[in-house]
Structure formats: C-alpha cells, structure tokens
C-alpha cells in the first residue's frame, strides 16, 4: 500500500493554502529558501495571449528515488508504505540528492546544513489523517490518496514536469478541461 498526489491544476486558485498548511504543520523555517511544497507559477505564452500554469508540487516519493540512490551516507530511507524521508541524524548536507532530484524536492537548510523535504506528513498519516497540504486545499486541486486509486487517473505528466518514466513519481495530473 502506498500513497500519491492527484493534481487538478485547472482548479488551483493560487491561494497557497497548501504551502501555508505545510509550513505550519512541519514548522518549516522561513526566509532561508526552504519550502517543502511550492505553488509553481509559470508563464507559458506571451502577451497579448498569455498562458499561465500553476502546479502545487512537493516531493513525489518516487518508486525509483534517485535521491536515495545517490546519497553517500544512506540518510534517505523509505518506509514500508513507500514514503521517502531524509533521516536528519544521518544527513551530512552534501547536497547530492539536490542535484539528482528531477523535481527539486530536497532543499538545503543553510542554517542546519542539512537537506530537508516533504515527508508526506507521515506523522499525520500514521494518525489516520491526510497530509496538511491536501487537508486544507479548498477546491480539491490537490488531493492525496492511495496510489492504487490515483495511478489510473489523468496523466502522468504535464508541460514542465519531468517525464515520470525515470523515477516513477507518485503523482498524476487531471488534464481534462472543464
């Protein structure tokens, strides 16, 4: 049994409730450029016919996690339910994982000199709750659930998102229009 994200970008209203909830729950430090979850806003086409894409992205807890593979001290581990996490007591802050992650999930905390990333709020999952971000998304743009339910929905990739064939990220995108 594992979990994943289901993103429906057309429903995203850029409220950043997901970012805020994550920061609150995980006590993520501020103003040092560490954000486990980020609403990524990209301009896709120029004026006078602009197109903008917004994607709320965190860690995709990939089945083939390159971060785990390249960590020289084996600080990055996987739970039985597939959630990938960085053991802070082992991490030495070499930043190799940062180089290899296609999704920029591991972030370097310049104060602690270690890598941090989204943990899928496994402490909440263990209590039968959803991750903080999905809990607070007001429009259902960001959903979390069992991967077996999500994997068949939507597409595995959207513009600007690395081809999932490399790391098998647990995220799907609803691309169907209104």
């Amino acid at each position: 049994m594992s979990y994943g994200w289901l993103l429906d970008p057309k429903r995203c209203i850029e409220c950043r409730g997901c970012e805020s909830a994550c920061k609150q729950w995980n006590a993520v430090p501020t103003f040092i450029n560490v954000r486990y979850r980020k609403v990524r806003v990209r301009e896709l086409a120029p004026y006078p016919a602009p197109q903008v894409q917004t994607l709320s992205l965190a860690c995709n807890h990939c089945e083939t996690a390159w971060c785990m593979m390249v960590c020289p001290v084996k600080a990055i581990k996987r739970r039985p339910d597939g959630i990938v996490y960085i053991d802070q007591s082992i991490c030495v802050g070499c930043r190799e994982c940062e180089k290899f992650c296609p999704y920029r999930a591991p972030q370097f905390n310049a104060e602690k000199r270690k890598m941090e990333k989204c943990t899928m709020c496994y402490d909440r999952i263990d209590q039968g709750l959803q991750p903080a971000c999905a809990t607070n998304c007001p429009t259902g743009a960001l959903k979390w659930g069992k991967w077996e339910d999500i994997a068949a929905q939507g597409q595995g990739q959207v513009d600007g998102f690395t081809d999932p064939q490399y790391t098998h990220p647990h995220i799907r995108f609803i691309t169907q229009g209104w």
Binding site: I13, R16, G17, W25, Y47, P50, P138, T139, W178
Partner: protein, 768 residues
C-alpha cells in the same frame, strides 16, 4: 565601605580589586565568594517571596482539544478546526462541510493564523508614551500602564475635548466592529467616525439602496452560466467563498469573461480575457447595456414586472443609444465586435451576472460611482437580482442588536462638522461609512486644528492613499489612542496604545453575509485565552461607556452591560442555543429553507430601479453616464499605476507573518516584457515610479500578463514601523504615489458615491 565596582571593570577584565589584590572573576570564584557568605539567600527572604509571587501551584495539563471556530482574517469567515495542545494552538484546518465558506479548506492566510496569534511583535500591554516628540524614527519612551489608567486617560481626553470643543473634535478612525462599539460612539454623539469604506464597498451600498435594495455581496455562482468580471480578481483576492464559487461555476459549465489589464489568476479561469485599458470598464458596461437594449436581449419578464424600466423606457433607450460598442472600443481598447458578441451572449445565456464586490469596482478609480450604477443596470436587465445564478440578498439569521437586547435611551444628536467633508455628498452622508481619501485634506486644509483627539481602531497608515499626507495631518493631533494587535505605523504616533485580541482569542457570532441562501451562523470562539493583557474592542466599548455615558451601558436591572452576557443573550434570542458556550460546542447553526426569490425590492419604489429618480432629485445622473477616471496618462506620467493584494496577504494581519510574507518577500514593479524593453529595464533592476504626489523605488519584475502601459505593485508593503520585525522597512509603500482627494474634487468629478480612486494614479517609470 562598599567598593564600587564599575561594570566596565568586570566586563573588561573579569576581575575585582580587593585590598590591592586583583582577583580574577570566574564562575568558580564567583561561587566561592558567594559561598563564603554563609546562609541561604533564598529562604525567608524577599527573593523567596518573589518566587512565590511569580509561580503558583500547578494545574493539570489541558491535553489536546479540537475546537470549531470561524476564521476572522477576511470576511469569508471560513469555518475552521483548531487543534490546541496544552493551551497552545498547533494547527488550523478548514471545517469539513463548510460549503458556503472554505469548503473544508483554508487559504494560506487562515492556515497561518498561529503566526498572528503568536507574533512576538504583538502589542501586549496597555502603554503610554513618555517622549512627547512623535515620529517614525523617534523612541516614544513607552511605559506600561494598567488598563484602568489607559481607559481613564482616554475617557478624560474624549470628555475634555467634547466639553471644550464639541463632539466634532474627536476623530474615531474605526473598522466595522461589534455593535456595542457603535453604541458607545452614538452615546457620546461622535460626529467624525471615519472608516475606509470609500476605498471599499461604500459605492456599492449607496447605489444598491436605490437600484436593487441592499444585497451587497452574495452570489449564486454555482448556478450562474455567464459571469462577466470587470477587474475583480476573485481568486487573487483570496476570499474562499467567492473563489470556490468560480470553480463551482466552471465545473457546471459557466462561461467566464474577464476584463482586466492584468491576466490574473482569475484570468486563467476565464474563457476569454481582454486586457482592457485601466478605468474604462464603465465604457464596456455602458456598451453592453446599449446592445441588450437595442437588440432586446434583456430578461423581458423580469424587467416588465419587477423594475421601473417600463415607466422610463423612452428615456432609458435614448440615453444608452450613444454608448455604442464602437464608441466603447475607442475608450477601452476592447474590440467593438467582441463587446457586441459578449453582450449578446450575456443577454442570451441565462442566468448571467456581473458580480461587483468591493474595492475593485467601487473604488479603484474615481468613476466607480458610475461603474457600479452601470453594473446594476446590467444585472437588472439580466433579471438576476435575487434570482438563482445571480446576486441575491443573503438570508442571514436575524440576530438582535445590542440596542434590541438592552434598549438605550435616545441617542444625543450628532452636532458638528464632518472633517472628511462627506456632508457635501448627500448620498454618502446618509450612509454610515466615512471617507479615507478626503480625510487628510479635511484635517489639513478645511478644518485645521479641529481634531483634538483621535482614536484608531485597527487601521494602519497604509490604508490611506498618499500616506505621507495623513501622517502629516495626524502629527498635529494632540492626543492619539490606538487599539490594535500589531504595532503598525500608526502606533509610532500614538499617545496610548491598547493591546487588542485577535479572532482566535475572542467570541462572536458570524453570519454568512456572503453566502447564506438560508440562515447559517458560525460560532467564532476563542481557541486560546487572550494573550498577555489583550482585550476585545467590546470590552473597550463598555469600559469607555461606563466612564463617559453610563446611562447607555446599564441593563434594566442597573448592572453594567457585560459583553459575554450580551453574546449569550443574542445567541439565545436568535434561537441558536441557550447560550454561546453551548453553541460553540457544535459551532454551526443553520435553518435550511428553500430559496424564494423576491418579488418586491427594498428600493424607494419597491421595484428594481434602472432609472433612479432619487439621484435626479439630488442633481445626479439618474442613468449611468460615461466619465473618465481621474488621472490619465500624460507625457510627464505616461503609465497607469495599478495595485493588487496578494492572495496570501490581508491588511494588518499578515504582513508580519513570516510564512506569508516569505511568499512575496518584497513587492516589485510588475511590468510587461515589452515595456521593459522600451524602457531599457532588466529583471530585478530598481526603478522609480513617480506620480504627481510622490515616488517609490522597487525592483522591476518582467511578466507577460500585463498591458504594456501598466505597472502593477502589491499593496501591504512599506511599513515604516521598526516595531514590526518582519514587515518593518520591507518593500515599498504603494500608496505613496496615489493621490488623495479634496471633497471638492470628488464633487466636481460627479463622483456622487464618493469612490476613493484607491489606485487612480499615473506614473513615470525611471530606471535607476
């Protein structure tokens, strides 16, 4: 014969000279010296007493509670669940099932509420200044005082000013607050209560009174099929109740058309987006009316039965004939054929609505009065006034006011001159709202020296256009009291500061004015005890009332009005629960009922009024006319200046919150890549924006989402106050380039409902 040991000695040398011998002071030697004294210094001494004073017997830990409440950061009032552990707030999430609020979610602002609650910069104790010199860079010399002393001082100041100079000498700059506060102000005959509503929904409220009856802002988006947005960035404004409405509308197949110089988050949701010339939405609205009329595409049944259109049909048709789509294209740069097509679609795709909320349509530009008037005509013609898919009067639960629970004696008449000049605008005068845009001019030019005492209730200087001018005006006020929870810029000018509670620390009843198709009330309950010595504005109202107008603050048995008893009474009399605490256990009360559309409307004629004879009687236009916005591009100031509020910011509650401010650490000058090329500006380069009243400097940010004659800046930055660790000195103050107004300017512009023009400015852009 004690030796004086200057600390510099200890500090520098860590040593003592005793009898000619230098002793190195280390921790060990310190202990030895102390040990040599003999006798416990703690037992039976004042230090022991001090310990007993500072500590008490422990009570058991409170454990974990989950409390239901309602967010108070914006008016969406989304239901929330607060997880509180041992008296400390740990997490805020949405209330599942809150379908006419956050839908179970919470936006960034609401989710980060703990950051406001536990902001170390919060005002904590009542304080008075001891340094008479006031200024942003001057140390006020604050000392703590008791609430009693603070209230006594404020009451004395109020009382003396009123006795000596009349009620007009007291300026109360106050946010809409619980009704007990209004009672206090009424009980002492306050004339100059001023709020920011001219920058907000004043125009809407005034115009609706005569055109559709009061139904400010509930929209049945889920059933709308055609939504036209003039500049209202529903999504980026961040009120979940509306944002979710648009998502619902789209999911149900609605078409959304967006007229906005910026391709905003809402633009992303729109089926069509037009980069309209700023301040010309009025032209497009007038042209749409022209098309609906000339092609008879309006809702004939509604118009015939529920409006005064039939009585004035000839005048109406002849009036709008001039506003052709071709004419509108010249003003707005929206192609005429698009305007015609959209108007046709609007007329034929039902239900259709043009939502108008607050600032964006009412107050962005000085032709807001006319724009709101035109939009009401559009909605009336579309037949969606209090109809499914349109704007409707929220069926809020009738909750007795304080005056109903404790009937007061007759209030004294309000005698005196309005410092903001709103008495020159009869329609504004009959409304309760006041005017920020004319306040500085009133205080400096019209009535210099009139204001002796000012009381600020939860406002900052950032809330004014041209903040430098209002600062100048306030500096000459002899006594200023501030009630707030964060020490923003106004605090630097205050004589007394009162620490206020935030929504997480106070109890209230929240009626869902923006979304009640049937009555729904949420309990906003304190999830933690009020921090330090913060108190609610209701407490302040009663305490000042006791001192200044005791007859208005007694209950029928002669005891003082008590805010929590008042809340219990309201809860009980509204039929919600026997008292507030009982209500707070479930937190939600509703009376589901079918939505029955109105057949009469609360206008003077009982019908929706397309033609407003009451406006004509006062010398205004009974039908909307074209007016330009106040400031137009010139060779000296070629570019339109626009502002916006990021979805994760809300005035005075979020700018000092690191989680939220990190999302946009400094505001920037957003300009199109085309404009940047023309100016020779690169990404990140500092530019100066200069208008006829001021200038700001900030980094340029290049985007594809703006017209090339526009620069757009986020509001809420540029607080001077060093008292705010996160917000202080951060970013540029957008208001510095926005002109304030004199009441004469407002009148001369035909701005009959007092629109503030809160982003009505043009600038030069100078690379630095």
């Amino acid at each position: 014969m004690a030796l004086l040991i200057p600390s510099t000695l200890i500090h520098t040398f860590g040593s003592l000279r005793k009898d000619g011998e230098v002793i190195m002071l280390t921790r060990r030697s310190l202990f030895r010296l102390a040990g040599a004294a003999g006798g416990s210094l703690l037992a039976g001494s004042r230090l022991r007493g001090a310990f007993d004073e500072m500590f008490q017997a422990a009570t058991p830990a409170a454990g974990t509670q989950v409390l239901t409440s309602s967010c108070g950061i914006c008016d969406s009032g989304c239901g929330l669940r607060a997880t509180v552990q041992d008296g400390v707030l740990r997490f805020l999430q949405g209330l599942p099932g809150d379908n006419n609020g956050g839908g179970g979610g919470l936006c960034a602002k609401g989710g980060a509420g703990a950051g406001l609650l536990y902001d170390p910069d919060r005002l904590k104790y009542p304080m008075k200044r001891t340094n008479p010199v006031k200024g942003f860079d001057v140390d006020p010399g604050w000392v703590r005082i008791s609430w009693t002393e603070a209230l006594d001082t404020i009451a004395a100041q109020f009382g003396n000013a009123i006795a000596q100079y009349g009620a007009e000498s007291v300026l109360v700059v106050s946010r809409p607050s619980p009704d007990i506060w209004t009672r206090f102000l009424n009980s002492i005959g306050i004339v100059n209560r001023v709020d920011h509503l001219d920058e907000c929904y004043l125009v809407n409220r005034i115009v609706q009174r005569y055109m559709t009856g009061p139904m400010a802002w509930a929209y049945d988006f889920v059933n709308s099929k055609y939504i036209v947005l003039f500049g209202w960035d529903l999504l980026a404004k961040g009120k979940l109740v509306f944002a979710r409405g648009i998502v619902d509308a789209k999911a149900n197949g609605a078409k959304v058309v967006c007229f906005n110089p910026q391709y905003s988050a809402t633009g992303r949701f729109a089926d069509e987006w037009f980069p309209i010339r700023p301040g010309t939405d009025l032209a497009v609205a007038l042209a749409m009316i022209n098309v609906l009329l000339s092609e008879n595409l309006y809702d004939q049944d509604f118009v015939a039965n529920y409006t005064n259109f039939p009585a004035y049909e000839t005048q109406i048709r002849s009036h709008f004939a001039q506003y052709t789509p071709e004419w509108a294209e010249q003003q707005s740069e929206v192609p005429a054929d698009a305007i015609r097509r959209i108007a046709r679609e609007f007329g034929q795709t039902r239900p259709a609505v043009v939502p108008a909320h607050k600032k964006t349509l009412c107050a962005n530009h000085t032709n807001g009065s006319q724009l709101v008037q035109a939009i009401n005509v559009l909605n009336i013609l579309a037949g969606t006034i209090d109809r499914p898919g349109g704007r409707y009067a929220a069926r809020t639960l009738a909750i007795p006011t304080v005056d109903a629970v404790y009937p007061p004696p007759a209030y004294p008449p309000k005698r005196g001159r309005r410092v903001d000049g709103k008495d020159k605008l009869p329609l504004v005068l009959e409304d309760g709202g006041g005017m920020f845009s004319t306040l500085a001019d009133g205080m400096l030019n019209k009535f210099p020296g009139m204001i002796q005492v000012a009381f600020f209730n939860q406002y900052t200087i950032l809330g004014f256009p041209n903040p430098l001018r209002i600062t100048e005006a306030l500096k000459s006020v002899p006594f200023i009291a501030v009630y707030d929870f964060l020490p923003n810029d106004v605090t630097a000018l205050a004589d007394i500061v009162l620490p206020g509670t935030i929504y997480l620390e106070a109890n209230d009843l929240v009626t869902r004015e923006m979304s009640s198709k049937y009555p729904i009330v949420l309990a906003r309950q304190a999830v933690v005890p009020a921090l330090f010595e913060s108190k609610s504005i209701a407490y302040v109202a009663v305490e000042l009332g006791k001192r200044l107008a005791p007859n208005y603050f007694k209950t029928s048995d002669g005891s003082w009005i008590n805010p929590s008893v008042l809340l219990d009474e309201k809860t009980k009399r509204a039929g919600i629960a026997t008292n507030f605490a009982e209500f707070a256990q479930t937190g939600v009360y509703s009376q589901p009922a079918e939505f029955v559309p109105s057949t009469t409307f609360k206008t003077p004629s009982g019908k929706c009024q397309v033609f407003v004879p009451e406006f004509a009687a006062k010398g205004y236009d009974p039908l909307p006319v074209w007016k330009e916005k106040r400031d137009l591009p010139s060779s000296e100031y070629p570019y339109f200046y626009l502002t916006y509020i990021p979805a994760f910011q809300r005035r005075n509650t979020t700018e000092n919150n690191p989680i939220l401010t990190e999302m946009l650490p400094v505001n920037v000058a957003n300009i199109s890549t085309a404009l940047a090329t023309k100016l020779g500006v690169v990404e990140g380069q500092t530019v100066r924006l200069r208008s006829r009243v001021g200038a700001i400097e900030l980094p340029a940010h290049l985007v594809e989402t703006l017209r090339p004659d526009v620069v757009m800046v986020a509001h809420g930055y540029g607080q001077r106050s060093k008292l705010l660790k996160v917000a202080g000195g951060r970013g540029a103050r957008d208001g510095d380039v926005i002109p304030d107004q004199s009441i004469e300017e407002v009148m001369a512009a035909g701005n009959f409902a007092g629109a503030a023009g809160i982003m009505d400015a043009v600038v030069a852009i100078e690379p630095c």
